[in-house]
Structures are given as C-alpha cells and as structure tokens.
Subunit: 501 residues, 2 copies
Amino acid sequence: MIDIRDRVRNAALHGKIVSAEEAAAIIKPGMNIGTSGFTPAGYPKAVPLALAERMKKENFQVNLWTGASVGKELDGAWAEANGIARRLPYQTNEAIRKQINNGKIAYTDLHLSHVAQMSRYGFLGGKVNVAIVEACAITEDGNIIPTTSLGNSPSFVKDADIVIVEVNTSQPMELEGMHDVYIPQDPPCRQPIPLTKPDDRIGTPYIPCGVDKITYIVPCDLPDAVRPLAAIDDDARAMSAHLIDFLNNEIKQGRMPKNLLPLQSGVGSVANAVVCGLVNSPYENLSVFTEVIQDGMFDLIDAGKLTFASGTSLTPSPEGLQRFYDNIGEYRKKIVLRPQEIANSPELARRLGIIAMNTAIEFDIFGHVNSTHIMGSKMMNGIGGSGDFARNGYLTFFFSNSIAKKGAISSIVPMCSHIDHTEHDVDVFITERGVADVRGLSPKERARVIIKHCAHPDYQPLLTDYLERAEKATGFVHTPHLMDEALSWHSRFIQTGTMKK
Amino acid sequence: MIDIRDRVRNAALHGKIVSAEEAAAIIKPGMNIGTSGFTPAGYPKAVPLALAERMKKENFQVNLWTGASVGKELDGAWAEANGIARRLPYQTNEAIRKQINNGKIAYTDLHLSHVAQMSRYGFLGGKVNVAIVEACAITEDGNIIPTTSLGNSPSFVKDADIVIVEVNTSQPMELEGMHDVYIPQDPPCRQPIPLTKPDDRIGTPYIPCGVDKITYIVPCDLPDAVRPLAAIDDDARAMSAHLIDFLNNEIKQGRMPKNLLPLQSGVGSVANAVVCGLVNSPYENLSVFTEVIQDGMFDLIDAGKLTFASGTSLTPSPEGLQRFYDNIGEYRKKIVLRPQEIANSPELARRLGIIAMNTAIEFDIFGHVNSTHIMGSKMMNGIGGSGDFARNGYLTFFFSNSIAKKGAISSIVPMCSHIDHTEHDVDVFITERGVADVRGLSPKERARVIIKHCAHPDYQPLLTDYLERAEKATGFVHTPHLMDEALSWHSRFIQTGTMKK
Ligand SMILES: CC(C)(COP(=O)(O)OP(=O)(O)OC[C@H]1O[C@@H](n2cnc3c(N)ncnc32)[C@H](O)[C@@H]1OP(=O)(O)O)[C@@H](O)C(=O)NCCC(=O)NCCS
Ligand SMILES: CC(C)(COP(=O)(O)OP(=O)(O)OC[C@H]1O[C@@H](n2cnc3c(N)ncnc32)[C@H](O)[C@@H]1OP(=O)(O)O)[C@@H](O)C(=O)NCCC(=O)NCCS
C-alpha cells in the first residue's frame, strides 16, 4: 500500500487507513454518495474503482452527487458497471450520457450553485449518506486539505454519516493554502457572504471535518484524468476578436472600466480560446471570478495581465496541468479555489459585476438559449454554472458557431428546441460572423440584429422569411411565432439530416 | 391650483411650483422618461395627463421607463395618444398591451430587479433624461418622501438631468417613515446589501435628491387608480389548501421552520387568495419579503399572524386601500417599502430563503413555465419579479388553474409555447387538482408527477399519450419530445379554438 502517513498529520488517524476495497465495502445499495470533484479534477479514484468491481459482481446501484463532471474512474467506471440509479448535477462522460439518454439513469440537471444548499435542505431525495473526498493531506485536527477542485465537498462532508478521505500522493503538497472554504448558514440565519473582491479570503484553507468524523482514509496515486483541449480554430479566433472589439467600445462609451470587470468563462474550447485571445488584448490588471480555471488563464498570468483568478476547479489540459505543477509556486499566489456555492454564487456574480461568457448549443432569433439538449431531447452535459453567471452578471455573453455539422445545422433557429436561459437574461450574442448586442431591444428588434450579425449567410434568408411571415400572420404581435413551424427546422433535421430545405 | 406649500418644506422651493402643463412643456420627443410607480400605485398623474394632451396635438413620442405597471393616467393616456415609442419593464394596461401586440410599441420585458442597475449602467438606450416622481412631501433639504410605491424612483432621480416632483395631496402624510431607500454602488465598488431580516432598515426614509436637482414641483390630488381584485373562487381556495397541506408536511419533515420563511407572493387574484388562505392556517409570526402588498397581507396583519411585510408597492383593491388609509397608524408599524432593486434582489431572496409563490399562464410536463405569452406570441403583462424570486428562493412554487377558457385550453402542455422560468428553477407546481413536488426528479419523472397531480382529467390521457409516444420514438431519451408535435396543442387551439382533438 502507498505510504501516506506523512500526509495524515494526526498519528491517531493512521489506524483508519484502509485499502480502497475495505472502504468501498461500507457502501450499501441505494445510498446517496456525495463526492469531491469538479470537471476531471480532484475527484476520488481508488474507492470508486473498487466499488465498480463490487457493482459488477453484486449488481447494485447508488445515487451519485458530485460537484460537476468527474473523471472516468468514477462516472465512467460506475456507469459501465450499471451502478448509477440517479446522477446529479452535471456530467460530460460518454458512458453516463448514453444511460441518461436511454432511460437507465435518472439525471437531475441543476444550477451548480444550488446543489450544496438543496442537499443541506434535504430537497434532493434524502441526505448524503457517504462523502468520498480526495485530499492532499489531513491536518492534525482531522481537517481535509483538498486537491485540484472544491466543488460541493465541504457540504457533503458536513452532512454525511460516513466520510471516506482519499489521500492522493499524485497531488502536490503546494496545493495546500490555495483553498478558501466558506459554508453559508441556511435560512433564516444566513448572513451576507463577506466577499467584495476576487482575491478576498473569507474561510479556512481546509474542509472542516474533525478526527472523529473520518470513517476511513484510503491511499491513492492516480492522477486527474484531465482531457486535451481542441486546438483553437479560426472560428474561435474570430469570436475572440469580436469580443475584444465589443469590449473596447464599451470602455470607450464609459460602460466598462479599463481593466474590465471580473471575467467568468465557461467550459470547452471556445471559452478557452476567448480567454487566450485576451493575452494579446490591450487590457491590464484583469481579474477572474469563475468556475473552471483553464489553460488560457495560465497564459494570462504568464503574460502579466491577470492579477488574480478565483474558481472552484483547475481544469487544464494535460500540458496545462504539467505547466501548473511545474510552476505551482508562482501560480498559487494568484489562484484560489472556493466551494462552488461561493464560486457560482448569484449574490457574488451580481455584486462583483462579472462578465459572464458561456457557450450555447443553439440560440433563437428572439434571444433564448439552449445549453443542454440536442434537438430538444438528448442531454448533452447539463446547464452547469452557466445560469448562475448569465442571470447575474454585469454583462452576459453567449458564444456559438453559427452552424454545426458542416452546415447541416444552423445554431440560430426560429425557436430553441430547449431553453435554459431566457430572453430576459442575455445581453450579447457572438458567433464567428459577428456580434449581436440586444440590450434594451424588443423581441422583433432582437431578431433582426441576431439574424444580421450572427446567423450564417446560408440561413439568413430562411430566418428572415420565418420572421416576416410570422409578423404578418400574427399582426406584428410582440413575439411573432408560427406555432406549427417554430420547431420545423429541428423536425426537418431529424427527418432529413439537414435543416436546409 | 392646489396648495401644497405645507408639503414643500423648504420655502426656497416654492418658486419651483408650477402647473402640470408648464412642467410637461420641458419634455422633448425621444426622451427617456423614468417615472415612479409600481402597479397602479405611487405613479405621477398630473404631468402625464398634461403631456398626453401635448402628445395628441403635437404628435410626438417618448420612451417610458417605470417601476412596473402604472395607472391609466400614465400608461393608458400616453398609449391612447400614441405617445410611447418604447416601454419597459412591465405593464398591465389594455391600451398599451394592444400596441405592444400590433407593432406600435417596442416593449422590453425585464426582470424587475435588473432595471435600475441596467439604467445606471447605460444599457437601456441612453440615460434617463427626465424623472417624474410622485411624492407625499419634499423635505427641508430637498429630499423626496415617496408615496405608495418606491419602484425605480431612487435611481431615476439620481440619474436624470430634469427632476419633476408631483406632490400628491390625496396621499396621507402618515406614509412618511414607511420607506427605506438604499441604492447600491455599481461594480467594481458594490458592497453586500446589509439586510438579513425583512424588517431591517438599511437606508433613508426619503429619496435623496437635494434642492438644486429639483426642476419643477407640481401639485396633484388624483388618487391611485387601484383595481378591484377578483372574488376568491373555489379553485383558488383549493390551491391555497394544497399549499398549506404541503407546507405542513415540510414542517413535519424538518425542512421548514414552524413560522415558515419570508413569503413572496405574486400579482393577481390567485396570489392574493393564497395569502388570504393563510389567515386560517396554523402558522404564527409570519413574515413577508415581496414585491406587492395586496389585501391578503392586511388580513394577516389584522389576524395577528404577520409580524412584518417588506415590499416595493402597496397594491390593494379600492376597499383595501381605504382600509389601509383608515388604519395607517397601525399598518405603518409593520410595513416597509423598498426600491425594487432591493425588494426583488436575488442576493436577498437567497439569503432570506424566501418562499416564492407566483402564477403561471402555462407550464409543461417537464417543468418549464410560461409567465408572459399567450399561445407563444401575444404579450400578456411581462415577467415582472417572478424570475427574481423563483430563481433564488428557498422553495419555488408556481400556481395555475389546470385549464383556461372553460376547458378549451389545458394550462399543462407538452411544451410551453414560451419559457420564462426553466426546469432548473421550479420546485413545486400547484393547480386546483393538486401538488406536484418535482424537487430532485429527472424530466421523465417530473412529467408523470405533473400529469398525475396537476393536469385536468380531460387532458391527462392526452398528455400521457404524448409522453409515452415520445419516449418510444426517442428511445427513452433524457427529455422525450416529438419536435413535430410538441407545439401542436397550441396550433390546434389557434386553428380550432380548442386544444382538444
Ligand atoms: C454548450 C456546450 C455543449 C458547447 O461545448 P463545446 O465543446 O464548445 O461544443 P462543440 O462545438 O464541440 O459541440 C458539442 C457537440 O454539439 C454539437 N452541436 C453544436 N451545435 C449544435 C446545434 N445547434 N444543434 C445540435 N448539435 C450541435 C456539435 O456538433 C458537437 O457534437 P459532437 O459531440 O457529435 O461532435 C458546452 O459549453 C456546455 O455543456 N455548456 C453548458 C454548461 C456550461 O455552460 N458550463 C459553463 C458554466 S461555467
Ligand atoms: C400569469 C398571469 C398573467 C396570471 O394572472 P391571473 O390574473 O392570475 O390570470 P387569469 O387566470 O386571470 O388569466 C389571465 C388571462 O390569461 C388567460 N389564460 C390563462 N391561462 C392560459 C393559458 N394556459 N393559455 C392561454 N391563455 C390563458 C386567461 O383566460 C385570461 O384571459 P382573459 O384576460 O382573456 O380573460 C399573471 O400572474 C402575470 O402577469 N404574471 C407574470 C408576472 C409575475 O409573476 N409577477 C409577480 C412577481 S412578484
């Protein structure tokens, strides 16, 4: 067994060190398992793999609650063992996605800032029975030093009857001190979250737990299964350039400070590309208040442009992770990880006035956004934190390519096939073709701006045709729609493989 | 002219007292006019009526920004004079609604908590040029004592170049002291809103203005054109009873304090009925943190059940208003009015853990809510504060009758024709038939619970049929929808006058 005694700083706890199999044996079918992990970062690996073996043999299922998506050793292995009955609040794993979309897994897609409190309130189907949390180390007092993410771990540890800590020796000890753990009280006793700047520290550098509350400690040395980022393509570069043009004008008009406001940027390649684009921008002294810290943020730090980044998870590419570990002494001065309840807090997004930048699957001419469903039915990943930020930011952007599947799909449609963010929540749309600033506009005005600046030329005439016919048929009503045609583009794609006529 | 000199407490200001016509003469076409008023309460009347006369003769238009809906002397008179080019953020007036739905008025339907800050940020098409604010009195220092609502007046007064104060002698002086005006700073300097209980006072009892900033003062004695509330019918009584049953069980399960959490209740008859229902409930020491204070709240105060109510507007029926005026000495101890930026603040809704209760036009089997559009196209009123509260409350309810138009419409549909609140935001649905608790459920589970407990028996088989065929056609995908049928109920109603086959 890997020796982790130097990382378990209270010798009295050494007796609780067991194998992954022993720890996994305590888990019973039907339990609610709350784990650490947010994106493939900081999730437990050894105990989940051991439990997957039991799942295969004993044929039993649990409910899995995490911070957000987790790596293959947890989501992947459990799904492949048919071990998940319920899953929340977010996932990106191929095996799980398949079972969510064939009726095997009941999936609850939640705003990431809601999860910890809903779990504490008892709103998610009982309480957390077992918390499994990855740690760098356990302190003298039995408190937990987390690793590359914080997610919902503090609340899961607080609420669970059984706490299993996986001490992962692949995680460098320099992570210690990079966390700031604050758990709000619940209503009616909740106080203001005392944070007014991205670099404020308001909590403890560890997850409060205590010696007695720890059930088992398990050694592990499997690294985070981080995933490569797609190369930055011309479309992403164009979106990034449009964003910078737009922000330059906002500064000129006096609607934005010169060093911008704290940036939030979503998951995925476009989001990363947009952040990378800022490296060559004129802006200095940028700050970040976001969920995931991707490679682009390291570029900004290296370029001396980013003074501070606050997030809930480090989600770099494999090269990015190596780069982070190699230079952790410097990066740790400029990065803090918080529970997602704080990182994604609506209260803080609005107070700090963040610039919210997220990616959409599709949006419609009237300004509604679909972040989650393919053709109205198939779950992709989940809403994640996009709603937490989009709804509360100073300025809310959504990005998308104007087309998908080589042009067979227009990502700008008459009506979204699923809506995660409404017309009330979005300020600006950006595709590789341009920028639609819809602030203060009525639906019919929005439609014209979106079609003109964001839609692909192949689809512009079709969208305009729909809008004009709907206006005539309804007598220029507030939001002109033809109920029997609004979703016909999606129907056509399903039937013919293209949205084109 | 009505003598208002005793209400204008600085004699130096008496020289600024002019007629409504003189004040209205300063307004130019194309200006952004920000007025007081929220529901038909506390809006200016004399100057708008005078301006309406000019509009009729001179044929010019302005943009009207308010707190929410306002009375006929403003929305009605200006719309009838074709005097409104743009309107935001909410309305309920028949004349305006018509022009919004025939292309004459560009209407921007905003979350009510967003308006003041978006106006300060300069996001709504320039700044407020003229503020017209109803007042009880003007203090020695030139500060404004508001009347029956606060809305966005503090920000409009702060930003406008021209400030016109309408001193209304029909408003009793006892209103003085019932307001608490707090204007947050804008990012990056915003601080936590220092409120942790509904009865906390965090600001001034007046709108800060100052002698020099006041351009004109106009006397007025027209009362608020409050509107009757529909009688409480059996359906509303049934919804109220379902709510109380549900809350009783939450208390029993330990998920709710015995005196509940601060209540928010929406506009309209159902909302009022639900509050009235609490008079005969077992709960004591209730508190209210809401937008509009309707008759039901006076019932609760009289019954000794309500310790405190915080809102942004008094919106009683004509009898309710009389009752309030008659007993204002008592009611004023238990009611405070705040700017809507505070009353509807997401930060506070989440901190206080409010119980959010709003009414829907329709909702769908997967839990999305339409608050605004009839048959996907025609604007009814607007989203109002429903999103501010629904998204951030401790427990979020939506109410609706299961059917409308004598059964020709099912208010529970396969897919909403417009979405204002998403599946991520709603906990519980209530119709006269029962309660659907969808917390923690997947979409397919939600659908079964909603059909079973909320839908009308006439439509239950049709909804189940849709769901089952969609499940089969899509292989039990996450959110089973048939793109060519999802909106067919609305199409059918438009074509045949009924959703029934
Ligand atoms: C929306 C989201 C899926 C986009 O991710 P991405 O990596 O930039 O997207 P891609 O362009 O690679 O598209 C993903 C897939 O959707 C498909 N797609 C894109 N647009 C589509 C459309 N309009 N209709 C149907 N499919 C579409 C792509 O073809 C691709 O399919 P594939 O996996 O079969 O190749 C992702 O950002 C997400 O999950 N967002 C929701 C959560 C979120 O915003 N979190 C951030 C909060 S901090
Ligand atoms: C949704 C809302 C319109 C319901 O108001 P209400 O007074 O309870 O509603 P009613 O039952 O009287 O219905 C209003 C109209 O919609 C019609 N209607 C109701 N359900 C319908 C449906 N599913 N489809 C089409 N029309 C419907 C009614 O028939 C009625 O029509 P009419 O004016 O021609 O008679 C109102 O609550 C609202 O505007 N909400 C949005 C703002 C909000 O929630 N604010 C509160 C925040 S504090």
